[in-house]
């Protein structure tokens, strides 16, 4: 109950003209960027991060939260109307959304189903966040440097392995991210290190140019492949009145939305699992329940499960981010980088030392959810025009956005050059199936990991067993870490010896 009182306090913080304006702006921009095929929430949040410079930290983060959240809504639009998911969590929305829009000739209702179930999933996720966030933070107070070290190692390893197909590639890029982050000043002694004699590198690699390059610019290079693609857009005229759902539709979408919302939240809490895994699991779970039409043929239940789960996971991922300072995804890492840029250090003490910020942010997610829903409905008549902006126009415009963002964060052309280099490497990595999300996460968490690891080793005078088995929590986390490390090796051995045969896709 106390948490809900704090939530009311959070609403009090958010209800200022500046915060509501930032929330509205973030929601509109997030929706538009999320709707554009091929950009995605990670690149969208990274590209729009510099727009928060003008605000105070709380307002800036409220805008970022709104951006991230409304991005999840936007991803469904192109999935339903163009059969091109705006982002990976919307892949399964397209499976039922596009047939519902084209075969069943109900594009407006497909969009409305996605919006309504996103809203339901989001609210469930946020209510669980209200209860879970402070509880997780209280648990986090038991964490000393040793526990934090092992926890961060678990987070980095699990994300490295869960995002993308190959664990070795994921962890390899995580390590590269850590080494890039160690350029500049040593966190404890202030000694310059690994700057290779360059004065530009003495302050380290700035987060924003690095992330804009790795995600935004790399995505731009990939977009060149799609610039001449023809899209099969829905041709029906869309109106708000024509998009309304019947009572029967509501009856069909509510149960899967609630189920997927609860499940999606807990998937979102796990590091690395994220919105994509949540929507896939929810869709698989829906197959076990009764649907009026078979999934994949334009079933409302399919859209509802996928959309509700991915929005709930987006809300759920804020629990470890705020309470432990550990993001659950690449987008979470960008948000964490934004928080740190504003001098806020999420972690167990955040709820007690800065309740205005923590609860203001959670309250703003509720408002963003409703604002995104309202705007989603409002833009239905012009949605096809937004979605049909040719990629050929978007590419040079986003190039300028990349330049502006990279320069504005560093006031130097050096930042722009870093962005360009990071972009080219990001593109090459993605081309070789190396997901860059673990690298970003490692880049953000590296200073925290190093600080805790060194403190843990100082406290134990270098006794490694005292670090990894310092307490019951550390021991449990170490066991999880060992299991995570051993799993792919054991799996390979089992496959090679013929004990286990993996199921083939398709």
């Amino acid at each position: 109950m106390e948490n809900f009182m704090w939530l009311l306090h959070g609403f009090g913080v958010v209800f200022s003209l500046e915060n509501l304006g930032a929330c509205l702006l973030g929601s509109i921009l997030g929706l538009i960027v999320g709707a554009m095929p091929g950009i995605g929430s990670l690149a969208g949040v990274a590209l729009l991060l510099p727009l928060t410079y003008k605000f105070n930290p709380t307002t800036a983060i409220i805008m970022l939260g709104a951006l991230y959240y409304s991005n999840m809504y936007g991803g469904a639009f192109s999935a339903i109307l163009l059969n091109i998911p705006g982002d990976s969590p919307a892949v399964l929305t397209a499976v039922d959304g596009y047939p519902m829009a084209t075969v069943k000739k109900r594009p407006g209702q497909a969009l409305m189903t996605a919006n309504a179930s996103s809203c339901i999933g989001g609210i469930i996720g946020m209510l669980i966040l209200v209860v879970l966030g402070p509880a997780l933070a209280e648990f986090g107070l038991k964490f000393g440097p040793a526990e934090m070290t092992v926890l961060l190692l678990v987070a980095m390893t699990s994300i490295g392995w869960l995002v993308g197909g190959n664990p070795i590639q994921g962890v390899l890029l995580s390590f590269i991210g850590i080494l890039v982050a160690s350029i500049g000043m040593d966190v404890q002694t202030g000694t310059p290190r690994f700057n290779f004699g360059s004065i530009y590198l003495m302050g380290g690699i700035e987060f924003i140019p690095f992330v804009i390059g790795t995600v935004g610019f790399a995505q731009l290079m990939q977009l060149m492949d799609q610039k001449d693609d023809k899209v099969n857009a829905v041709t029906d005229k869309l109106t708000i009145r024509g998009s309304m759902l019947t009572a029967h539709d509501w009856k069909r979408l509510t149960p899967p939305s609630v189920r997927a919302g609860i499940m999606g939240t807990f998937v979102g809490v796990l590091p690395g699992a994220g919105a994509t895994a949540a929507s896939f699991l929810a869709y698989a779970m829906q197959k076990g329940f009764k649907s009026e039409e078979p999934l994949g043929t334009g079933a409302i239940e399919g859209i509802a499960a996928s959309e509700s789960a991915n929005n709930a996971a987006a809300a759920g991922s804020f629990a470890p981010l705020l309470a432990l300072g550990i993001p659950g995804s690449g987008t979470g890492a960008v948000l964490l980088g934004g928080l740190m840029m504003w001098g806020l250090n999420p972690g167990p003490l955040l709820f007690s030392t800065d309740p205005d910020f923590a609860w203001g942010l959670i309250a703003s997610l509720f408002i963003s959810n409703l604002v995104a829903l309202a705007i989603s409905l409002g833009i239905i008549p012009v949605l096809l025009k937004i979605l049909k902006v040719p990629v050929r126009i978007m590419i040079p415009v986003i190039m300028i956005v990349c330049f502006l963002g990279a320069y504005a964060s560093t006031y130097s052309m050096f930042g722009v050059v870093i962005m360009l280099i990071a972009g080219v490497f990001g593109y090459i990595f993605e081309k070789n199936d190396y997901s860059t999300a673990p690298m970003l996460l490692a880049f953000v968490l590296a200073p925290l990991l190093e600080d805790n690891m060194r403190k843990a080793f100082i406290a134990t005078a270098g006794d490694i067993s005292e670090v990894f088995f310092a307490s019951a929590i550390a021991t449990v986390l170490t066991i999880i870490l060992i299991v995570l490390c051993a799993f792919p090796i054991v799996r390979t051995i089992l496959i090679k010896t013929g004990v286990y045969t993996p199921k083939k896709k398709g």
Binding site: L172, T189, M221, R392
Partner: protein, 157 residues
């Protein structure tokens, strides 16, 4: 068709090799300049953490290198590289003629002469970019963008 030429490169092998080299460089600099453990104070040094990660990276790079032979070379299309090449030329333009003129020329060249878009689309894209540069970033966020060598000469800096 423009930009359709492509080349196959064994980057799946090159990435772990580069990873190994990065790890080795960090290991050598870390051990040489900072050391690993300060025995007099019994505490880790500034090189402690990067050295551990560097060694881990080298091990993973070897594993990645072994794995890479099972994968095919990746095909790179010239088309995708127009983005960094165009951006590099844009940076040079910013440093010589300044941000606003470089944005105008870049958008015109890209949209009208490379993509052959209509004047209407070109002007819309250009206006959108100029709104971002001037009202949003320069006036609202108060970012002073480079005026370039020519701008500096005119302004007498």
């Amino acid at each position: 068709m423009k930009g359709t030429s492509s080349v196959k490169l064994p980057t799946q092998v090159i990435i772990p090799v580069i990873g190994f080299i990065i790890g080795l460089v960090y290991l050598i600099i870390g051990m040489g300049d900072f050391g690993f453990w300060n025995h007099s104070t019994n505490t880790p040094t500034a090189g402690f953490f990067p050295i551990i990660i560097a060694v881990g990276l080298m091990i993973l790079s070897v594993l990645g290198f072994i794995q890479s032979f099972r994968r095919k070379s990746v095909e790179y299309r010239l088309l995708n590289w127009y983005v960094p090449i165009g951006f590099l030329l844009f940076i040079v333009g910013v440093m010589i003629i300044g941000t606003v003129p470089a944005v105008i020329i870049f958008e015109l060249l890209w949209c009208k002469f490379y993509e052959k878009l209509s004047w209407k689309s070109t002007i819309i894209a250009l206006i959108f970019c100029l709104i971002l540069v001037l009202p949003v970033f320069t006036w609202w966020l108060q970012i002073d963008f480079p005026v370039g060598l020519i701008g500096n000469l005119i302004l007498g800096y």
